[in-house]
Symmetry: D2
Subunit: 301 residues, 4 copies
């Protein structure tokens, strides 16, 4: 493992092999005349899940240089591609709850709450007969545990039990490994959110198993974990020091040990930190808008 | 009725009589050497509830000129009096959920969410063993129906069912009738929140009956309803026009009919409006801080 | 005068006459196949200024039912019409400063600061050679006097002296008289902003005279003053009371006296209040976005 | 140099010598029975400035573990010590402008704007005769260049020219080198703010030379620069690799070259990133409040 990432495409890159991975199916395509690159990774069985380190399911990554840019015009194509995929996931479902995870007060973590701010919510309008002919949309920005004292999974489970939607869409800010992926990638996953390695049973997972209905996760990488940065630096340093100097030493460390070393290098206080771009405010505002508009279009008649 | 109000003290003022009201007990006191005036209204039975237009229960109103002022120093006495009352309500209860109702994006309605922002939440710290020896505090700012598509009562009922606190404290911005009461009054009510006239059964009530556990409501009047303003203006106008001119006309209207008239005078669009002071941002920020500090102190060992 | 308004179209309505007003030229047109109604009022001389109660200059009002609606799609036509007018005002000017007046913390007054949030600012990019070929745009949200201790006019005068733009665009939330105009009207005025009656010399004016360069004001009515509401209610009441009852009394009051009466009816505290719709958060967010996008398009090469 | 820092105490630590530094005077004391450690560094002449890498002037660092904690009670002692120092700096000055630098939308950079939010501003109240007997306080949160297109120094110079205060206090978030200093240190400097190495002439400096009046800077380290983290990791790695392996290689790099290497290791995109704690929202809110209260108390009669 080369540092924590929430992106299936980055997990895939770890497996340095040109051979196809058993149980993992990868397809790449470009979207017509847009610059949007689409990677679809399907984890087909437990074998594939073990190999990739991600639960069984489908992961779609949409990537566009333009997503990072100011011009709202560039966001239109991404919105349309995202909307198309959402419609596919939604299918015949008629009651959707959208949950914007994260902390509104910490800029790179505010993506989820910002999406909720721009959502066109219809549940109450349908119930009151003000509109008809629409998918029922309810929404919540539950806050983070430091604000609520409750795991998001517990809050969402309680609400789903009461409201009984047939699809839960969760929006969350993600961590990436490559700084170059920040704020220009959107990942869709029908596996929901599984904290940690993604394999095994987790108390705080937000997925079909824990919530009881299909969960679609939409995520955008907005931060890098500190150990990841340090790990990258080590690689460069090893090159800088020269093969001569390090050849005996390097034998001592395999990839996992080196990441462990990176973690040890950062003090406990540093582990509770994150790395994010200086223009994160602009990026989060724009991308959250793209996502909420895509959901609005996908759920309106 | 002389215009919508959420304050028991203003309901009481409607009953223009020096005689004691059957089933309603009123006590007034000043708090030591502070300027805080305290009115305790106890609605003892259904008879009293009918007369006052408020459900059976205890309503405590704390009022201080200083609450409207900038100097944080003046907030200390109010915080202490509020804390004392909270401790009384809390008694031996050990698990508290605090809900900050209202819309964070509309200044006079942001009181509830702002209180949550400054709360010291402990549920997760107790569960993880990071602290011991504290009342368990969880918190939520559920948002308003236009943002979530769900009634706050439904969200809170679901969370209470899951988390099982033994007291729910709801914070909400209120409407007053007298502009002079805005931002200097805090009302505590062990009846929770009962929209509408307060008598009868209500789908959206947040009280012991609907939620299943005791509900303490903390409210601060931050707005006046538009019909209230118009109604007040009518009174002044009637005087201005002179008894001569209106004496025959006035016979036609009793108090309730006159309020009805005030409502008719304001177009449907105006009914969806509110009146609030220009310095509402400062007021809401300060009072929300006073309330959250009082809760913090009342819940710490 | 029938209650305070910042809209030239409402001032015009006061003059109840079908005859053309000397010195005031009014043109109305519809914009192609959109629903946008456009009223252009030109105050040609001091005579017209006296009659209308607005300084000499051009006032363009754009009005659209759709501006109040959720669907972003409906904002596109308004954005384009606004952009067209902006380009006309800008003409050959190459250095523009945009000032977002108002208080970010009070929802209906946050229009100006929100416009600045979404603006594409270029002054620093041009100076650093990162871009070329664009109009130079600088921007400021100066805050209100209660936050800064300084009049906005003083702050802007100081900045204009230093930065030397050749056009100042000021964005501000306005007061209207008709609740029906809130959040669906945009007014452009090449007279800048002149607090009060608009006639005479004013210390706090933000106009060519005080700032030294042309000032274009873009305003949206988001609030109604409390005396206006009361005044309207009086009209309805007079009707309700019947001609019989009030005919002798009414003789005592002309229009101005009646507005004076309305002001007296509201206590001093009420005068410092405003009336605004409950969904003001959504409205301000959407319209500010429409305005900032129009400025962005009008200033890009 | 061991990585970018804005703190004089960290610059001092670079000079690994027990001998006194010529031209730099250092005094350390504890504040009575509080836990507040105070370090006063006086750079006496150009010689000292060269050695320390900071302009001639006085730097006071206040450090307290408690500043990072939730309990508002712990902030009272820091507020008082800060207030005492502010009064000393203010002396007989009677007109103060406070500038909250930074970007309100990026959490660790919002310290300056948040301080302005809680300030008690008096300039307009004194001018209008509402209060007398107070120091004149004006305030501005100018925003960052990406929002305004203007350097903060240019905006402040223009305002000082117009308003003519006799002291400018600038509040800004700083970068530290040690993660352990984040959010528990307050630095006061009578040198103002000098971007870059602090020696020489700088276009964007905000100091007596550029602004024309004394400038007091109050700063709190809230972020670490990415190269600093990498540099620290290199140190640990060199130890981990063992002296044997690196002794020949290390000869090639002196301290400055190693920092250069750290910068090269991080891609250009990474250089535009920062590292900050996950609980930065709480920390910035609390410390900004401590600072604004200290200014409020120091400027009231």
């Amino acid at each position: 493992m080369r540092g924590r990432t929430d992106l299936a495409v980055e997990m895939k890159e770890d497996i340095q092999s040109d051979e196809p991975i058993k149980g993992v199916h990868v397809m790449t395509k470009n979207n017509g005349d847009t610059d949007i690159k689409e990677v679809r990774i399907v984890v087909e069985d437990e074998d594939g899940a073990m190999r990739l380190g991600k639960p069984i399911g489908t992961y779609i990554t949409l990537e566009s240089e333009h997503l990072r840019e100011h011009d709202e015009g560039f966001h239109q194509p991404m919105m349309e591609v995202l909307c198309k995929h959402l419609k596919e996931f939604i299918g015949m479902k008629r009651k959707i709850m959208v949950a914007g995870l994260g902390n509104r007060e910490v800029t790179p973590d505010a993506l989820g709450p910002y999406v909720i701010d721009n959502l066109y919510v219809t549940r109450h309008l349908l119930k009151e007969g003000i509109i008809s002919q629409s998918i029922e949309v309810s929404a919540i920005a539950p806050g983070v545990m430091a604000q609520t004292g409750m795991e998001s999974s517990v809050i969402l489970k309680a609400l789903v039990k009461e409201i009984r939607p047939d699809l839960l869409i969760v929006i969350d800010a993600l961590a990436a490994r490559e700084s170059d992926r920040l704020n220009k990638t959107i990942q869709l996953a029908d596996t929901g959110i599984t904290p940690g390695s993604g394999v095994g049973n987790h108390r705080n997972a937000i997925n079909k198993e824990s919530i009881g209905i299909p969960v679609l996760a939409i995520g955008v990488p907005t931060v890098i974990a500190v150990p990841t940065i340090v790990n990258d630096a080590m690689d460069v340093m090893v090159s800088a020091l020269g093969k001569q100097a390090t050849k005996n030493v390097l034998k001592k460390f395999n990839e996992e040990e080196r990441y462990q070393l990176a973690c040890e290098m950062v003090t406990p206080y540093l582990e509770n930190m994150f790395v994010t771009p200086k223009d994160i405010d602009e990026a989060v505002k724009r991308i959250s808008y793209t996502i909420s508009e895509a959901i609005n279009q996908a759920t309106q008649a």
